[in-house]
């Protein structure tokens, strides 16, 4: 479990986060949604130990460093190395034994055979969607207790989104998964709980993800983006 207690952060004179309190439990997929500039990136930076809050604290029931932040876009991987090298590397980095990594690869590869086919390919030779699948896969099998995915579905076709969604649903039983996304369709289909933030304030939270679009409108979170 991760408990965020009244976190506040000011950057360059602007209050980015104001007394945010949240709770994340293992076995669930959470989404943090809000318009651009709401403070989502600052929040995930603090959650993933890349930023220190000005006030408040985060209580981790397990190792506070064991959080995997997957950045948006085509980053997060060593392009000149194979998929297998990357899996091994990031797993080892988290303190996983060789046996654990091999078991994770085996069990996941059986459920998602398309990973198996690209294990020995260099990342640079993969398509954008495949890179995203691989990066997500690595974040899920590297032994982290919590995985934060920033805009994981951005730029992906429907088929790839479904694959990633299935991966997340499969992995959520043993970890906390947090999504930062503007893709409401994606959120609706795989999220268990949604936090809405605006101007650094937590404005609403719900486990009724079916009404996410309506909630977003009702909460007046729409900027220029059509929902």
């Amino acid at each position: 479990m991760i408990k965020v207690n009244q976190i506040s952060k000011e950057l360059l004179g602007n209050k980015i986060l104001k007394d945010i309190t949240m709770e994340f439990k293992c076995g669930n997929i959470y989404s943090i949604v809000g318009p651009n500039g709401a403070g989502k990136t600052t929040l995930i930076s603090i959650l993933s130990n890349l930023m220190v809050p000005d006030s408040g604290n985060i209580i981790h029931s397990k190792n506070d460093k064991n959080i995997f932040l997957l950045l948006s876009g085509e980053r997060n991987l060593y392009y000149k190395n194979t998929v297998k090298d990357n899996i091994k590397y990031f797993g080892t980095l988290r303190g996983c034994t060789k046996k654990t990594i091999d078991n994770n690869i085996k069990s996941f590869s059986e459920k998602f055979p398309d990973i198996k086919n690209i294990l020995n390919k260099k990342v640079e030779n993969l398509s954008f969607g495949q890179k995203r699948i691989v990066a997500t896969y690595i974040s899920l099998v590297s032994g982290s207790d919590c995985v934060i995915l920033d805009e994981v579905s951005e730029g992906l076709d429907l088929e790839t989104k479904v694959r990633i969604r299935n991966m997340l649903s499969e992995a959520k039983t043993s970890k906390i998964i947090i999504l930062i996304s503007h893709d409401f369709e994606f959120i609706e289909k795989c999220t268990d709980y949604v936090y809405y933030i605006k101007n650094g304030i937590l404005v609403f939270e719900t486990d009724n993800v079916k009404d996410i679009r309506q909630d977003y409108k009702n909460l007046n979170l729409i900027s220029n983006r059509s929902v």
Partner: protein
Amino acid sequence: MMTLRIIFEELRINVLETLSYKFGIISDLFVYGGLQIFLFFSNTGSSLSNSYVYNNSKELLLLGYITWILSCACISNIGGEIKREMMIGTFYQKINAFIPIHLLYIGKLLASLTMQMITIIGVYAISVILFNVKLHLNIYIILLIFLCMIGMYGVGLIIGGFAVYYKQINSIVFIIQMLLLFVSDVLTKKQNLGYVFKIIPLTYCNDLIRKVLSSSYVGLYDVIVYILICSFNFFVGIVFLNFMIKQAKKRGNLLQF
């Protein structure tokens, strides 16, 4: 045991990655080989013969030159790599790694030194084939160079600390590498070297390895001072990098690239 495994994995992935950049290896060979040919033809370092009472000044120069190449690897592959890894997003995984980042980067250091051996073999081949200059290495020289690498790794961590906070440091890395060539007694031995330059491990190393090569007297005091200088740089590097990471976390610019 896990620490060693992680360091080895860092070494492995970096060696594999560098091997993929074949042009990088070839360009290193051209740059360092070309500079060496220029230095040898222009008779740079001829005064080293007088300073160390050793008739082969080119051998003394070559020894310092190779140590400089290795030192450059420590600086660019630690300081410069931190910036690159922030861009590709792998640095953030390293901050949350099972072992501290300064230990993890030992793997990167070993990888860059291993890969730089290809350049050094090339440079040595040029020395032997074009100038008939052979190196007479011994275990003391190798040990002294090893210590220098530990100290220069610390310098690399300091530069890495700047990269974490200020991001754009490529030109600074280049300037420091060039500066080292001229201020750390690689090319000549300066009598009135400033105090600041004497605490650079490479400066002290160049003096000691040339003394060993020329069979000059190396006092215990010199060795102790050298070990202290290398240790100082190493520990300052660790403290500084971790301090800068902390500052970047406070300032909130660690993820901004």
